[in-house]
Amino acid sequence: MDIEIKNLYKSFGDQVVFQNFSAKLKKGQVTCLMGPSGAGKTTLLNILMGLMQPDSGEIVGVPAKKSAVFQEERLCESFSAVANVRLVCSKKTSYKISNKIIEDHLSEIGLDDSLYKPVRELSGGMRRRVSIVRAVLADRDVLFLDEPFKGLDEATKKTVMEYTKTNTQNKTVVMITHDPDEAKAMCQEAIYIKKGETANV
């Protein structure tokens, strides 16, 4: 089922972020949210994730099982990269995951030397990659990625983008980016947000 945003209205005090905003995010596709800073991309993502409530409007079709890369990494600082990924791997579902799988995924994007170091000892780029693996291995129906490749050097970004693309196939992904090249490489569709107005690219 597609995710449909109908007549969304959201304001913070006097500042109206979304006015009568509607959009459709296709199931199984990667949709990019683009636009200048302060246009409301993260606000829209937070509303879609259920972390923020719109003032009015309707959002339908958001799967219950969600995964995310947040603007900040939101990692448990004193735990290792492996433990941080394990934290979100559900025991309730049939999807069970071994430490070996987690280690393989982290190694694939260059974290093989830092698997069991507390994440507070890792650099910004490394922490970003841990949060990407966490989002991927959580194995949920929809992924919300807020500038997932922020702070990565070009070579690493290429590897991590390839990793993300491969491991999110056939999943609904909503991704915020400022980089048109990232959007081109990752997304099937993009929505440009400018002060509450939208235009599909």
């Binding site: 995310a68 433990a83 559900s90």
Partner: protein
């Protein structure tokens, strides 16, 4: 010289001699065990209750509101008032358990609640989004957040529980306790015994604090 006056201030040599006598006396070990067991039981009971209360208060605002007056009263009531009141309600042998409990409860409760309140809300949002189980939230998010508060509270309250527990024994004079020995030392003007037992109390208190805090650190950090 005052130091040569055994009534006022004994020499370190006499204290050491008394201490050696006490350490070789199995009866003294029994006296120490009597007080250690009761004060440690009061401390652990207070610690457990404080953590449960803080968890409830952190989760339910109503619980915090309901507990607030009780915790405030316990915090501000002079310990001597509690001791005398408890002597009416309890038998002298249980007095130090209850007094140590009362000393530990508000210190640990206040600190742990503060730790819960300062838990990173962004991490909690992450846990909500990923549907992290309550047990994992506790282990990965709350415990690392609360640990420094809990360790600091325990470190302070162990010493306080010893001071208050022994004070309760001195007033209640339960037979076979360190408090009784201190009371006897006062009655018989035996400054040597008074200092020797005080040294024993300090040693036990420091040892208990070191052992407990080390164990607590290992316990809290073992998931990391």
């Amino acid at each position: 010289m005052l130091v040569n006056n055994q009534l006022l201030l004994v020499t370190p040599f006499i204290v050491l001699k008394k201490l050696a006598v006490l350490l070789l006396d199995t009866g003294a070990w029994g006296v120490a065990a009597f007080s250690v067991l009761r004060i440690a039981a009061g401390f652990l009971l207070g610690l457990f209750t404080a953590i449960v209360f803080a968890a409830l208060a952190g989760r339910f605002r109503l619980a915090e509101v309901v507990l607030w007056p009780y915790i405030s009263i316990i915090k501000s009531t002079p310990i001597a008032s509690f001791i005398i009141l408890c002597l009416i309600w309890l038998d002298a042998r249980s007095l130090s358990v209850f007094i140590a409990f009362l000393i530990v409860l508000p210190v640990v409760y206040t600190n742990v609640l503060q730790g819960i309140k300062t838990t990173d809300s962004k991490l909690l949002e992450m846990a909500w989004l990923f549907e992290v189980t309550w047990w994992r939230r506790l282990r990965y998010i709350y415990v690392p957040q609360i640990s420094p508060y809990l360790i600091s509270a325990c470190s302070v309250s162990i010493g306080m529980s010893w001071k208050a527990g022994i004070a309760a024994e001195v007033i209640g004079i339960p037979a076979g306790s360190i408090g009784e020995k201190l009371y006897e030392a006062k009655v018989y003007f035996s400054s040597g015994d008074l200092f020797a037992w005080t040294v024993i109390i300090i040693m036990i208190s420091i040892l208990f604090e070191k052992l407990f805090i080390s164990g607590l650190k290992i316990f809290l950090g073992k998931g990391e």
